[in-house]
């Protein structure tokens, strides 16, 4: 029973923390760039405000445009039930493994891209086209990183991957894991629309991807889409943090270990947010047609990860 409660707590925590995480990255970036920056909780105010505003829907759009925010939000929240955020093993482990997580997120991307095309705006089409290009090219890296993890854990089940690294801490430092971490980090930047692939801070630039795609959204629809994007960022951070450095994740479900789990989760999120902020400050946005080069670099990392896991078995 406590497992089920924990599942709900975990999903609620992810929903609650996600906007703050986005705010934190923005805040850290601002400080690194010698700006004061908006406070960390700014995204919460933005979401609250958006939920209170009326929705404007294009007269060209169909029901799909209005259903998409719900589909995107639902599929993203569904993932938070499957990803080990606080504890393993959880009762829903058997519902979906790492492959399911990847394809559930693809479901959201798929519908968001369709919604980008729906109002007939060239911006939306451009964003949709680029989003799907990046998503498709990131896919092999993700699959290979999963392969590398599955090789050392003997399973694609998230709970088992975490448990396996906990019992054998040496694997966390194996070249396979390190290379797979590097590959997944680049994929995280691509999938969550960060620099150097996409720029989350620009509106109406021809370089943008995600922002162009959701340009027609407003009010509560935009709030759902933006919230889901924040949750997606948190999911990727949780995967990076808990699959590769699982310490802190509660395995016994007592109050003390859960408290440690929350604390370690926060610490990992702050660290990763800092890493992304530094990275985003250091690099410039890549031209769109240079993005495949970065993604193939991540693919090579993942391939090396698998190969080294093979050789060092």
């Amino acid at each position: 029973m406590i497992g089920y409660v924990l599942e709900v707590v975990q999903a609620a925590l992810a929903l609650l923390l996600a906007p703050g995480l986005v705010g934190l990255v923005r805040f850290l970036k601002a400080r690194l760039q010698n700006r004061r920056g908006a406070p960390v909780w700014q995204p919460y105010w933005e979401l609250t405000k958006l939920f209170r505003k009326e929705v404007v829907v294009s007269n060209n759009a169909s029901w799909l445009f209005r259903a998409t925010p719900f589909i995107v939000f639902a599929s993203t929240v569904a993932v938070t039930f499957l990803v080990p955020i606080l504890a393993v093993p959880l009762p829903f482990d058997g519902i979906g493994d790492l492959l399911v997580v990847v394809y559930l997120l693809l479901l959201g991307t798929f519908f968001l891209s369709l919604a980008g095309l729906d109002p007939g705006s060239p911006f939306g089409g451009m964003g949709a086209s680029r989003e799907m290009t990046v998503a498709a090219l990131a896919e092999p890296t993700v699959a290979l990183a999963i392969f590398a993890l599955a090789l050392s854990a003997g399973s694609t089940n998230l709970g088992q991957i975490v448990a396996r690294t906990m019992t054998d801490p040496g694997t966390a430092l194996s070249p396979g894991h390190l290379l797979a971490f590097g590959a997944l980090f680049i994929v995280t930047l691509a999938e969550t629309g960060r620099l150097p692939i996409d720029n989350p801070a620009t509106h109406l630039e021809l370089t943008m991807i995600h922002e162009a795609m959701v340009l027609e959204y407003s009010g509560r629809y935009l709030a759902l889409v933006e919230w889901a994007a924040a949750v997606k960022l948190l999911i990727f951070f949780a995967l990076l943090g808990n699959l590769f450095v699982p310490w802190g994740v509660s395995m016994t479900l007592t109050a003390a270990t859960l408290a440690i789990a929350v604390a370690s989760l926060l610490a990992k999120l702050v660290l990763l947010a800092g890493a992304v902020a530094v990275f985003e400050t250091r690099v410039a946005k890549l031209r769109l047609f240079r993005v495949p080069e970065l993604l193939s670099a991540s693919f090579v990392l993942a391939l090396l990860a698998v190969t080294s896991s093979f050789l060092l078995r």
């Binding site: 939920f51 209170r52 009326e54 929705v55 829907v57 294009s58 007269n59 060209n60 169909s62 799909l64 639902a74 929240v77 569904a78 482990d93 058997g94 519902i95 979906g96 492959l99 399911v100 394809y103 693809l106 479901l107 991307t109 798929f110 891209s113 369709l114 095309l117 729906d118 007939g120 705006s121 089409g125 451009m126 949709a128 086209s129 680029r130 799907m132 290009t133 998503a135 498709a136 990131a138 092999p140 699959a143 290979l144 392969f147 599955a150 090789l151 003997g154 694609t156 089940n157 109406l204 340009l215 027609e216 009010g219 047609f289 693919f299 993942a302 391939l303 698998v306 190969t307 093979f310």
Partner: protein, 674 residues
Amino acid sequence: MALEQILLGIVFAAYAIGALAALAARGALGRALVSGGALAGALGGLGLGTVCLGGGRTPIFGASFLPLTGFMVRIDGLSAFFLVLIGLVGAAAAVYGYGYSAAYEGRYSLRMLGAMLNVLLLSLSLQVMADNALTFLIAWEAMSLSAYALVLTEHDRPGTQRAGRWYIAVTHAGFAALVAMFLLMAAGDLTTSFASMRTAALAPRIRDAAFVLALFGFGTKAGVVPLHVWLPMAHPVAPSHVSALMSGVVIKMGVYGLVRVTVDLLGGGPAWWGGLVLGVGTVSALLGVLYALMEHDLKRLLAFHSVENIGIIFIGLGAGLMFQSFGLTTLAALGITAGLYHTINHACFKGLLFFGAGAVLHATGTRNMERMGGLIKRMPRTAFCFLVGACAISALPPLNGFVSEWLVFQTLLGGSVIPQPEVAAIMPIAVAMLALTSGLAAACFVKAFGISFLAIPRSLEAERAHEAPRSMQAGMVWLVLLCAGLGLAPALVLGLLGAAVSGLGRFGPTDVVWSLGLPLRVAGGVGEMSSPLLALGLALMLGLIPLGLWLAGADRRVRIGETWGCGRIGQTARMEYTATAFAEPLRRVFAELYRPSRDLSIDFHPASKYFVQSIEYRSEIHPWFERVLYDPLLHVLGGVATRVRGLQGGSVHLYLAYMTLALLVLLTVARWWR
């Protein structure tokens, strides 16, 4: 009389009646009889397959059953599974065809269409039940020829004749390979039953030769790269319910044949067999989807996706064959099961998508996506059905495409246990290529659905589009339900597939054991997944979000406005993103493969080059490897044909002399051969 005999009788009788009715009756009655016959036959086959698969029975019907000697029919698990597949899609095509062929009234030969449709379904059913080479080959040829006649239905359209020629040439090259293969395996006697072929002790070299011939022969039918050239030509020009049957069922006979011969009759082989099938599958999957991305003819796009999905099926089968050669029978069974699961899934969603494309073609008269748009408002039901098909083929959970691709992934991930590391290293490459394929497929279907159905109509025809007739909708809804059902009940499907695989070749019942609880955990696989619970979770979530919004007091007002456009006034279809533009980033990324040729001509204003009067942009893709492979072949064939033409004197005496000469040569050869 046993139930199976009755059902088999129904299958043969119904198709025969359907075919004869096509020749006799005209108008709506004729179409109804044709569809009725095909529907009854398909349902009979479905019942027969279900009875045999569910009851674990393998009835044999000998030569006495049919008037011709040498016929042998046996229904084992694999046959029963394919009978179910033919029945499911055939029934949908029969119903859909009733409405679709109405537009052909008075324009094209409905007699030929109706008769050949029934002959095709009959030969498909006979094909999978065949128990000796003769029956198999006769059914194969009947299937190829009836499909050829169906492809030529719209014979006066540009491209149809050419497509037909390519199809018939490639398919006969394959047929020749199959005859040679069976002659090798049956030691020259085509009436040898499959049972004795299973036990025949063949020399390894003969087995290898038979395998290569099988891969070529069945590969031509399945449309794997590089034998796929006919497929994107022939499938689009056929009437849409025939396209659905061809992509959904006919090309699956290549899969059936390959499994029957390599896994069942030959009982598996060395590792390179599986490696070759896996390699061919990987290349087909990737190239299929890459060419589909550049295609803006909706039906051609779907045809290229058939190449892709056949590739995915071959990946599963190839991995299975490979595991079998290393004695990993559980994993081998998983690979073959995953391949077969994807086979039935692809039959359902590709049938559905071709039906959707057919409904669009029916309503707008065009297959060019650049002239569509806004159809979701004009034909909402078709749009919804097409969307379900698009999600399924893009492997989005919890639909059927996802379940089978997940199984293929599980098979490949399990491949790390292969004792030889240099062989096992193939698996991660295949995993990466499969992942890239499924990502690109999702991109392609965002394009296909988004450009065709969403936003503003790009032409007058699209603006005047209308919803498809009821019968066509019924066909689509049936397949939508199947896509959902096959996705939500994987345990049930895997149970039946286990029964189909466990009787094959060297597989025993103990090799195919799945633990089929709600979380699906397959033997040899490395993960768990539960698509019904996933669907339940998603549905719950979709219900809870609006509830949450309502409870939180979110604003509920909706205003309808113009699409925002940087201050320009009025939006026209010309401002929309096009299919070409959508695929442009990927065209650049894979420019090395596509080698696109671009032709840009701009007319400047005579006064200043900053004012453009007109702009013309042309871009073309040339599949270069097809040229490299086929141009020399066609050149040689053309040269030979020109020489041979000299023999054609037109005189009967000359031909009689040729025949006598040929007979003498053959007799001499036969005499001195022994």
